[in-house]
Subunit: 415 residues, 2 copies
C-alpha cells in the first residue's frame, strides 16, 4: 500500500504528461475508462455489496446507504457521463487574450490545467468516476481520498480506470486512490503543497471547515448553501410560491435548495398563510420569526441559530423583513455566498439586489436550484464553489484550468 | 487603538459600499488621496525621519534603510502613481460572458471586486499607498499590516488617505491600518476568514511561508522567483548574453531577475567563458556545476542548495544540461513557477519549452525582467502571483476582481 507522499509524488509527475496531452489522447482514455467500467460491472457491484453490507452492520442511516449503493442502472449512468465528457470541448490551450507590447513582445494568455488536484469526499462512489474523468478531460491529475465506507467500491472503480489508462497515452499514475482510510491521511494530504496545486473538499460543513483550517495547499471551498429567497412587496404570489416550492422540495438535500424565505412586511399577512398552506401540506416544516408567528401561530418558532443553518431537509425558515435593504443585510450576515434569489416586479429592487448581494449566483424571479453545472450548460461539474477567488458557482472543465503567459520575443531586454 | 477583529469587521462592512461605488466616485476618492498626500508631504517626511532614525539605531542594513526612506521625490512619484490609477479602466461590472438557457433564463457573468483584502508587507512605505489605491480602484477594501519599522510613516500616510476618503462617497473604513505592530497580529489577521476574502503576503520567502502555512483566509502567494534562462544549442550567443546580463544585473533584488542559467552541453565550452567574462567583470559572482568548473576552474562551485536559492543579489548559478528536456526537468524540480526563458532558434524546442514549463510567464528569446504589471501594460500591480489558482503573474486591477453570475428569470423552476 503506497503512502500519501508517494501517491502525491506520482500524480505530481503525471501532471506534466497530462498537461501536454492532446484532446484526442484524453478522449481515447475516457472511452477506455467507459469500457473498462462496463466490463468490470459485476466486480464493481460485488465490491459495493461488501461496502453496503458493512455499512448496514455499522448502522448507517438509510439515506446514506442509498448514496453508497450502486446497481446496474447507476453504473450505466456513470458510463454515460464519461462518454458525454468525450463530446465536451477541451478547455486547455484556448488563448483567452493576447497583445503585443510596444517593443514587439507578443504576449499570449493561454489556458492550462491547474495541475495536480486532491479531492476529499464522502460516501458517494459515483464521485470517484466523475471527479477522475472531469480532471482528466481538463488535463489535471487527481489524488482521491474517499470515504472508508466506500473503499471496496472505490478500489474496484479506480482499478478499472487505471487499467484503461494503461492502454492509453495518459500515464496510469494520473489517477491515484489513497487506500489507507484513516483520518490522518487527510491531514497529510492537504499539507502536500510541494506536490498538489489544489484541494477540493466535497462533503459536509465539518469536512470543508477541517480542510480550510488545516490545508497549506490552496483550497476550493464547495457546497455549503444557506440559500435565501426574498419575496418583495411587488412579487407575483403565484410565481413566488411556485419558485419557493421548487427550490425547497425538488431535492432538499442539495446545496442549491432554498433554506430561508424572507418576506416583505407589507405582503406578509397575505403571502405567508399561502406559503404555509402550500408547503406544510407537502411535509415541509416551516419555522417562523416572531412576526411571522403572530400571523401563523401554529408555525414552529425559529431560533437565532436557524438563520445560519443549512438544513438539507424539508425545513424552511421564514422571516419578515422591512424592505429589500433589510433582506440584503440579512443575507449579508447569514448567507453562505452560494445562491440567492429575489422575487419582484420592481425594477429598482431587482437591480439593487443583484448588485449588492455577494453570492456566486444571484437570481431574479427564478429558483435557486439552477446553480448547477448541468443546468448552466457546462456538461459536467466538480462541485459548486462558494469562495471568492478563482471560480464561483458551478466548477466545470473550464474552472479546472488556470492560465499562463507565453511570451515570444526576438532578444528584447528591459530598459 | 482598534484591535485586528474590529478593523477586519470595519473593512468587511465597507466592502459592500465599495462594491456598488461608481467609477466616478472611486476616481474622485483617488484624486482626493493624491492631494491629501501632497498636502501632508512634510508631516509624512517627518514621520519617516523618525522611522529611519530608529531603524539606524537598531542597525538596519543600508539597503533596507533605502527601501524605508522617503524624500520629496519619492512622495511625488507616489502621488503620480495614484493619479495614473484614475486614468485606468475600472474592471468592475464588465460582463465577461453571458448566455441564455433553453428555458429562457439569461445568465450574465459579471466582474465584481474580491471584497475585503488583507495585505501583510515589509518595510517599503510606498506599498501602503500603492496597495490602498489599487484596492480602491478595483472596488476592494483593504486591511494593511505593515512593518513595525515603517509604522510612523504608514500612520501618516493612512491618515492622509482616510481624510481624503471622508471627503468622498467611499467610507473611510475602506482602508484600515493595524497599529499594533506585534507579530501576533499577523497570525490573528490571517485567520479572520469570517471577514476577509483574501490575504496577500508581500515580502520574503519566510513571511510568505508563514502566511501560507497558517492562514485560513485564501492566500495569494507572491513574489519568490528562482528564474531560469536556458541557453539552447542553437541560441544566438550575443542575444543570450544580452538577455542574461539584463535579467541578472538590471535590478538583481527583484523577483523577476534571473538566478540561474542552464547551458546546453554542446555549446558550453564556447558559451560559458563568454558569459563568465561578461558578467564577472560587472561584479556578478558566478557559481558553476561540476562540468562548468571543468571549463572555468576559477568559478566558485555551486552546492545543491544553490539550485533552489533565490539570491536577489549579484550571484548567478550556472549549470550544464544535456538538452531541452533536462532543462525542463531541472526547472520542474527547482523553479518557483515565476518566470522562465529559453534562448533558442530551434522551433521545436521553443514549442516544447513553452508548452511543458509550468510557470506564470514563459519566455522565448526575452528577458525574465518583463514579468511586471507596468511592462505588461496593466498600469498598476499588487505583486506577482506564483500560485496556480485565480491569478498568475502580474496582479493588476483585473486580477483583483472575481465574478458572480446574475441570472434574470420570469418564474423559471427546475424540472
Amino acid at each position: 500500500m503506497a503512502n500519501v507522499y508517494e501517491l502525491a509524488k506520482a500524480i505530481f509527475k503525471a501532471k506534466s504528461y497530462l498537461a501536454s496531452s492532446t484532446t484526442e489522447e484524453k478522449n481515447f482514455a475516457l472511452k477506455e475508462i467507459a469500457s473498462e467500467i462496463e466490463r468490470d460491472k459485476q466486480k464493481i457491484i460485488n465490491a459495493n455489496i461488501r461496502d453496503v453490507h458493512d455499512a448496514k452492520n455499522k448502522g448507517m442511516k438509510s439515506s446514506l446507504i442509498d448514496r453508497l449503493s450502486l446497481d446496474y442502472r447507476r453504473i450505466d449512468s456513470m458510463v454515460d457521463s464519461v462518454l458525454k465528457l468525450v463530446e465536451l470541448k477541451d478547455p486547455v490551450g484556448k488563448i483567452d487574450t493576447g497583445w503585443v507590447l510596444p517593443n514587439g513582445l507578443k504576449i499570449n494568455r493561454v489556458r492550462v490545467p491547474i495541475g495536480a488536484i486532491g479531492i476529499v469526499y464522502e460516501g458517494r462512489p459515483n464521485v470517484t468516476v466523475e471527479a477522475s474523468t472531469i480532471a482528466l478531460k481538463s488535463g489535471n491529475s487527481l489524488l482521491l481520498k474517499g470515504s472508508s465506507s466506500a473503499q471496496n467500491t472505490n478500489k474496484a472503480l479506480v482499478n478499472a480506470i487505471k487499467r484503461a489508462l494503461k492502454r492509453s497515452k495518459i500515464p496510469s499514475e494520473a489517477v491515484e486512490l489513497i487506500e489507507d482510510t484513516s483520518h490522518e491521511t487527510v491531514t497529510e494530504m492537504i499539507k502536500m503543497d510541494e506536490y498538489l496545486d489544489l484541494i477540493i473538499p466535497r462533503g459536509g460543513k465539518k469536512l470543508i471547515d477541517f480542510v480550510v483550517k488545516n490545508a497549506t495547499v490552496p483550497t476550493m471551498e464547495t457546497g455549503v448553501g444557506n440559500c435565501h429567497i426574498f419575496v418583495d412587496e411587488s412579487a407575483n404570489f403565484d410565481m413566488a410560491l411556485r419558485i419557493i416550492e421548487n427550490a425547497k422540495i425538488q431535492r432538499p438535500g442539495t446545496c442549491n435548495a432554498a433554506e430561508k424565505v424572507l418576506v416583505h412586511k407589507k405582503i406578509a399577512r397575505q403571502f405567508e398563510p399561502l406559503l404555509y398552506e402550500r408547503l406544510s401540506k407537502q411535509g415541509v416544516e416551516l419555522r417562523g420569526c416572531e412576526e411571522t408567528l403572530k400571523i401563523i401561530p401554529q408555525m414552529s418558532p425559529a431560533s437565532e441559530s436557524d438563520w445560519s443553518t443549512e438544513y438539507l431537509d424539508l425545513i424552511l425558515g421564514v422571516k419578515i423583513v422591512k424592505d429589500v435593504d433589510e433582506a440584503i443585510e440579512h443575507i449579508r450576515n447569514y448567507g453562505t455566498r452560494h445562491s440567492e434569489s429575489i422575487i419582484t416586479m420592481n425594477y429598482e429592487n431587482a437591480l439593487k439586489f443583484t448588485s449588492q448581494i455577494d453570492a456566486a449566483v444571484v437570481y431574479v424571479n427564478a429558483s435557486t436550484r439552477f446553480t448547477d453545472g448541468g443546468e448552466f450548460g457546462f456538461g459536467a461539474e466538480m462541485g459548486i464553489s462558494t469562495q471568492k477567488i478563482h471560480a464561483r458557482g458551478p466548477v466545470g472543465l473550464n474552472e479546472l484550468t488556470t492560465y499562463k503567459y507565453v511570451v515570444f520575443g526576438k532578444g528584447q531586454i528591459r530598459t
